[in-house]
């Protein structure tokens, strides 16, 4: 039983942190938020250079052949920085689906041209569609591949201006990739990576809130000396650590093909979405009026967290899905 990252995974994490620390700051996020697509083109270029897109792709297809844990390491760092790129959609959903379908040509295109790919249903709401180069869409019972103008993207104003939603409509037949079930299977990986992004985001919200509670003085004392605030911070910490534990557990289960991999991905969806909403809400509350304004940076992570939580789960459908996968559903028999 070994929870710690391997030295390679640690090196990947440190490199990701360094790169994101150097690239992304509040000014950058403000620029992206005010921009045309809400996607950070420059960060995407750096992500390509780092080989992040192909981390888990088979080396025979031009990838690095690492696993879901390595992807989770990068996703967590992205969440911590509030990086505005569709890494999880491209590397955690589209590419595994294309690989499973044996769509080598499309996989090669994504890696060599650095295509941003988003996944969703025809006529559905999809995140980061505005800046996408290609689309993997569920149309009827099929998963189909579309490039560029073959999909009409109708922006829908939404909470996070660095992860915007849009309605997508296929205007051509596209290329048949395989049955829709292929995309559903790959969706399991997306859940884990979306959870990892949320872990990074929750950690950042906790960091910001701890820092604020230490320095904000009211009634002659830092507000972090009051139990009412301490207990909120402790409850945030508990959720961050439980979420981190289950995300890496689920990532390992996925790459080790453990029997409970699907169940753990469903746990990630339900737990991390609820935990993230809690952490975001408490972060905002502790920051008081300051945090409610855009003068403070908290709102970037608040908006991102609520958006990713909404994309991830804890909807009634996700919770029922979790219950249906419960290995003890038929009742515990000692």
């Amino acid at each position: 039983v070994r929870f710690a990252l391997s030295s390679d995974q640690e090196a990947l994490r440190d490199a990701a942190r360094d790169l994101l620390g150097a690239e992304v700051d509040a000014a950058r996020l403000r620029g992206i938020a005010a921009g045309h697509s809400g996607v950070d083109d420059e960060l995407w270029r750096r992500a390509r250079e780092q080989g992040w897109l192909g981390l888990a792709v088979d080396p025979a297809r031009g990838g690095l052949g690492l696993g879901t844990v390595a992807q989770a390491v990068v996703a967590e760092a992205l969440g911590h920085a509030c990086g505005a790129i569709p890494f999880t959609a491209t590397a955690g959903w589209a590419l595994p689906a294309l690989e499973a379908a044996g769509a080598d040509c499309e996989v090669g295109d994504v890696l060599s041209r650095g295509l941003r790919v988003v996944v969703g249903s025809d006529h559905g709401l999809v995140a980061d569609a505005r800046g996408a180069h290609a689309f993997l869409l569920i149309v009827g019972g099929d998963a189909r591949w579309y490039v560029g103008d073959a999909v009409e993207v109708l922006p829908r104003v939404s909470l996070d201006r660095t992860r915007r939603l849009a309605e997508v409509r296929a205007c051509a037949a596209g290329t048949l990739v395989g049955p829709a079930a292929l995309a559903e299977a790959a969706h399991e990986i997306e859940r884990v990576l979306r959870g990892a992004e949320l872990v990074g985001g929750m950690q950042r919200l906790l960091d910001l809130t701890v820092d604020y509670a230490r320095h904000r003085v009211q009634f002659g004392r830092p507000i972090g000396s009051f139990q009412a605030i301490k207990h909120k911070l402790a409850d945030m910490l508990v959720r961050v650590e439980c979420a981190r534990s289950v995300v890496y557990h689920a990532a390992w289960a996925r790459e080790a093909d453990a029997p409970d991999a699907r169940y753990l991905a469903a746990v990630v969806a339900t737990y991390c979405a609820a935990a993230a909403r809690f952490v975001a809400g408490e972060a905002l509350q502790v920051h008081g009026a300051t945090g409610y304004t855009w003068e403070s940076d908290v709102h970037f992570w608040y908006e991102r967290t609520l958006t990713d939580a909404a994309l991830l789960g804890s909807t009634p459908e996700e919770i029922r899905r979790l219950l249906s996968l419960d290995p003890l559903a038929s009742g515990f028999v000692p």
Partner: protein, 386 residues
């Protein structure tokens, strides 16, 4: 990250599982409690004592202890596997658990060989039952405010004061206790970790009834009670008592997961088709995230490190609060039957009541949150009175 068990661990697990299935007596199956303070009557207590002796004889107790003291010097995963399999089959926790998981590691870390030889065998097979004398009427969460005094008389150390909320006190043969040995000291300094025979004139046990109905719970009045041993250096008892605590707490995490997982499955059956899917599903996800957390703590210990304050406090906080909320749901669903002592009330009510204790003993939820905020997140310490 590799959270799988080795084939050696898996072989051991199936051996334990088979042994338990063959040997666990019927009256001990599915005792409806999760933690250690079951409301045992005399016959159940005796059965648990005999059961621990049988487990010890089979080599399933004290697995991590050095061979010299009756153990097998195995890594902590083996202890966890025994706990998990015991929980899975519905067996109760070891009756002498305070001694096994608190005193024994303390003796191994800080005791003398003479003390180890004298006490460890009786702890292992439950021949001698121990209780923990920490809390006092005016020193609960603020344990370092304890006032029970130890003074030297002739060649011995004698203690006077009151210990309270002491689990198993009415049944115990011995007590390990924290007492103030330096009368001029305050706070955590000047405290000694002492061992006291319960069967002596200076010890009076006054039973306390409680919500869970445990007949062993008591207040213990010490009046010049003679100390048989001091563990570690005199006045160094606080350090002696706290060095091994985190380790043991983290190790119990996985066993608690298995017991609570069984409860979650029962809760699903109880709430079926009552439109509570969203509540039960959210609880289930929380419990599974807790399982991942306990695997992480286990991996910390197996890598040779002490688990952090964060891991130990989060573990305690998460499982006890989960236990409380899950049993809240059960009683709400049952309506009047939940407060009755028959039917499904007889099943759920004791569990519900035990969960009320779980968020209080071994550090209340509020104390755990303070610890996390102050020691892990670096918030300013509480303002303390004089």
């Amino acid at each position: 990250v590799d959270l799988g068990w080795s084939s050696e661990h898996e072989r051991f697990r199936s051996a334990v599982r088979n042994w338990l299935a063959d040997h666990l007596p019927d009256e001990l199956r599915a005792v409806p409690y999760v933690s250690r303070i079951g409301g045992d009557d005399d016959s159940l207590f005796t059965a648990r004592r005999v059961w621990q002796a049988a487990m010890a004889a089979a080599g399933y107790v004290g697995l991590t202890w050095p061979a010299r003291w009756g153990g097998q010097a195995r890594d902590l995963a083996y202890e966890v596997l025994v706990q998990e399999e015991s929980a899975r089959i519905g067996a109760p926790m070891a009756v002498n658990s305070a001694a096994l998981y608190q005193l024994a590691p303390t003796l191994l870390a800080h005791g003398t060989d003479e003390q180890r030889e004298r006490y460890l065998p009786g702890i292992l097979d439950a021949r001698e039952i121990w209780c923990q004398g920490f809390s006092e009427p005016d020193a609960g969460s603020d344990l370092a405010a304890l006032r029970t005094r130890a003074v030297a008389r002739d060649d011995a150390l004698v203690v006077s004061g009151t210990k309270i909320w002491t689990t198993l006190a009415a049944r115990a043969d011995r007590m390990f206790a924290l007492v103030r040995s330096d009368p001029s000291s305050r706070g955590s300094r000047g405290i000694s970790f002492v061992l006291i025979d319960m069967d002596q004139l200076g010890v009076t046990v006054r039973p306390l009834s409680h919500l869970g109905g445990d007949q062993g719970f008591a207040e213990v009045v010490l009046d010049d009670a003679i100390v048989s041993d001091v563990v570690g250096a005199r006045h160094d008892g606080w350090r002696v008592a706290t060095t091994t605590l985190a380790h043991e707490r983290a190790a119990m995490g996985l066993a608690n997961y298995v017991r609570l997982r069984a409860l979650a499955a029962e809760l699903r059956r109880l709430t079926r088709s009552r439109g509570l899917d969203l509540i039960v599903g959210a609880l289930l996800a929380e419990l599974e995230a807790f399982r991942s957390l306990t695997l992480r703590s286990l991996s910390t210990i197996m890598a040779g490190a002490e688990p952090s304050t964060a891991e130990a406090s989060i573990t305690k906080l998460v499982w006890s609060e989960w236990y409380r909320r899950a049993t809240d749901v059960a009683l709400e669903v049952l309506g009047p039957e939940g407060v009755a002592r028959w039917g499904r009330g007889a099943r759920w009510q004791p569990t519900f009541l035990e969960a009320r204790a779980a968020t209080i003993y071994a550090g209340t939820s509020e104390v755990q949150r303070n610890l996390l905020a102050e020691r892990v997140l670096g918030m300013p310490r509480e303002v303390r009175g004089s």
